[in-house]
């Protein structure tokens, strides 16, 4: 364990005392699965643009078929602070609901289980989800307080509970926000899965995940749920001390793909972060592609849209050359 890892471990005291202690030296980056992965980068300079058309274009470029499927949209809804960019923007969620209906999904639901114990429905109200997304209350489930069932052998746990709404979905769409993160380096489509862990069983924050290890938990969740798609809201992201106290950073992009590892690696490159230095991406490299050479960039190229996000001192070493 190197010094940074050691401090991350111990720093996770409340966030998970022993989390990083079991981390060995970051493994050699595997080649990843067979074949390359398509990731679409679509420009969208503001939330008032035609996001439905952008999403349809990106989804088509990634070859996703949702006909007849029960789709669960999983936004990143974190905090009351409508003046900042903590949460996935309501316009992105409303567009996604419309898009997946247009594409023939049998059902489109929205589910989120915020990491802090706040009033989820009021939080959604403050984030303009209720006013922007048609029939929001009838399609939204608070995943922290949904009915649950156990799955076997999750992250070394013989029994781990997940919400019925998540277990019943044929496709989970991670509607993540492009943000820096004070524990993980960046929070994107894969970290967003922390919100499917029910607080009613594991508490707020989901401390059990911290004890399993933050990078390990991110990967375990994405290993558990493989029928997924990512749409990352990078129209205005967050830089600096994310995921809550950072500052808005317009990047003007939506990033989409079926390989969430490749999506997150692409987002990192757009943010000026070296994805090969992000622990959870290294650990997830058997699930998808981290290396740029294995990612087929559709739409814009990374170079065309790269916008370096400010990094706090502890993560300056993540800067992409």
């Amino acid at each position: 364990m190197n010094r940074r890892k050691f401090l991350t471990v111990s720093g996770a005291a409340v966030a998970g005392t022993y989390a990083g202690m079991k981390l060995e030296k970051p493994p050699q980056l595997p080649d990843g699965p067979a074949g390359d992965s398509a990731v679409a980068i679509l420009r969208a300079r503001s939330y008032s643009e035609d996001l439905v058309s952008r999403m349809l274009e990106g989804i088509q470029q990634c070859g996703l078929d949702v006909r007849g499927k029960r789709v669960l949209l999983k936004p990143n809804l974190v905090e009351f602070d409508s003046a900042t960019v903590i949460n996935t923007d309501a316009a992105v969620i409303a567009a996604a609901v419309e898009v997946f209906h247009k594409l023939g999904a049998a059902e489109v639901k929205i589910g989120e289980g915020p990491g802090h114990r706040r009033d989820t429905l009021d939080l959604a109200d403050d984030a303009r989800y209720r006013s922007t997304v048609p029939k929001f209350e009838s399609i939204f489930t608070d995943l922290n307080r949904d009915d649950v069932s156990p799955v076997s052998n999750f992250a070394g746990e013989s029994r781990f509970y997940f919400p019925h709404t998540v277990l019943a979905a044929d496709l989970i769409v991670s509607l993540a926000k492009m943000k820096t993160h004070h524990w993980a380096g960046a929070t994107l489509s894969m970290k967003n899965f922390f919100g499917v862990v029910p607080g009613s069983v594991y508490g707020w924050p989901k401390n059990k995940l911290h004890y399993l290890g933050i990078p390990e938990s991110i990967v375990a969740l994405n290993r558990q749920f493989r029928n997924t798609f990512a749409i990352v809201d990078g129209i205005v992201g967050m830089e600096g001390n994310g995921p809550i106290q950072g500052t808005p950073k317009p990047a003007g992009v939506l990033i989409m793909g079926r390989d969430l590892v490749a999506v997150d690696a692409t987002c990192c490159r757009i943010m000026g972060i070296d994805p090969e230095k992000i622990d959870y991406l290294r650990l997830a490299a058997d699930l998808g592609h981290v290396r740029a050479g294995r990612i087929e960039q559709r739409g814009e190229t990374v170079a065309q849209v790269r916008t370096n996000f400010a990094l706090i001192d502890a993560y300056k070493n993540l800067r992409l050359a």
């Binding site: 005392t17 114990r117 009033d119 109200d125 009915d147 649950v148 509970y161 004070h182 508490g203 401390n207």
Partner: protein, 297 residues
């Protein structure tokens, strides 16, 4: 009892009780101990509610495990922080049997996992990325995890209420330790968040929900110690957009002898059952006194 505000919430709770006697977090969902406990407290003593509350009590008692912990719901195999809620309910109902004694014992055995020699050493040498006082024992959401404000506050209420029936030096010690942990984890803005006031040398903001719960747990501390937090609580209550926060802060202020303004009678009832129960408890004529601990153990 009270007017439209309180009656509409109690009526909603009566109408949404599940056939097994419990309440889900939302109508029609499976029963969980948390919304059941707060619904029971809200309906306690209300006209025509005795049978409903007794039925709920039978259900939550069926979730007691041999080690004294209590499961959060029928489908969950292991016990969690909700054990504190059962002990509080037992005190309210005047039940002090062996099973409750075991639950008190379980609460006394469980402590935040960060309170160990290794972590205290890291903290002493300033090696943690969180500026965190790990010198006190609080309570985790689940055994084996770190201590946080909410489970610590709820357990403080449970143990202080149970202290007269289950007195011990260990109980007194854990109550003092729990209170010290809460005080030590106050955020720089004066309130509390879930229990982590600083990460990577950045102060984190408080949350009104956690601040309300912390104040509930600190009943009985000196006026000097809670004066500042109560000021913060009043401010947060006025500012917050969170109904859950408003309910917890109102309960906390009332338990500290203050009299915050009652809500508008026509306020709509949320479909969130636990929130409806907490709002009923927070009403001037609601049962918030059932969470009163009467001072330190």
């Amino acid at each position: 009892m009270g007017g439209l505000y309180l009656e509409s919430r109690l009526g909603f709770l009566r109408a949404t009780q599940n056939a097994d006697g419990g309440w889900g977090y939302f109508p029609g969902k499976q029963s969980w101990l948390e919304p059941t406990a707060y619904s029971m407290l809200a309906l306690h003593g209300a006209a025509g509610s005795d049978a409903a509350v007794d039925h709920a009590w039978s259900l939550v008692r069926s979730w007691e495990l041999a080690d004294g912990s209590v499961r959060p719901g029928a489908g969950i195999a292991d016990g969690t922080w909700v054990t504190a809620l059962l002990v509080t309910l037992a005190s309210v109902r005047g039940v002090h049997d062996e099973n409750v004694a075991r639950s008190v014992g379980w609460l006394l055995r469980v402590a935040g996992a960060e309170h160990n020699l290794l972590m205290r050493s890291f903290s002493y040498f300033n090696l943690l990325k969180t500026k965190l006082d790990v010198s006190h024992e609080g309570w985790p959401w689940r055994n084996g995890n770190a201590a946080w404000i909410e489970p610590t506050a709820l357990t403080l209420v449970a143990l202080k209420k149970a202290a007269a029936q289950f007195p011990s030096a260990e109980l007194d010690h854990r109550v003092r330790e729990g209170e010290e942990l809460v005080l030590a984890r106050r955020c720089s803005d004066g309130g509390w968040n879930c229990g982590n006031p600083n990460v990577l040398n950045f102060d984190l903001p408080s949350y009104p929900e956690s601040t309300g719960l912390a104040l509930v747990g600190l009943q009985g501390r000196s006026a000097k110690e809670v004066a500042g937090p109560l000021d913060v609580g009043r401010r947060l209550r006025a500012e917050t957009k969170s109904s859950l926060a408003k309910a917890w802060l109102t309960i906390a202020l009332r338990l500290h002898g203050q009299n915050p303004q009652a809500p508008a009678e026509e306020s709509r009832v949320s479909p969130d059952i636990m929130l409806a129960a907490l709002e009923a408890l927070a009403h001037p004529e609601g049962n918030h006194r059932l969470l009163a601990t009467g001072g330190r153990a």
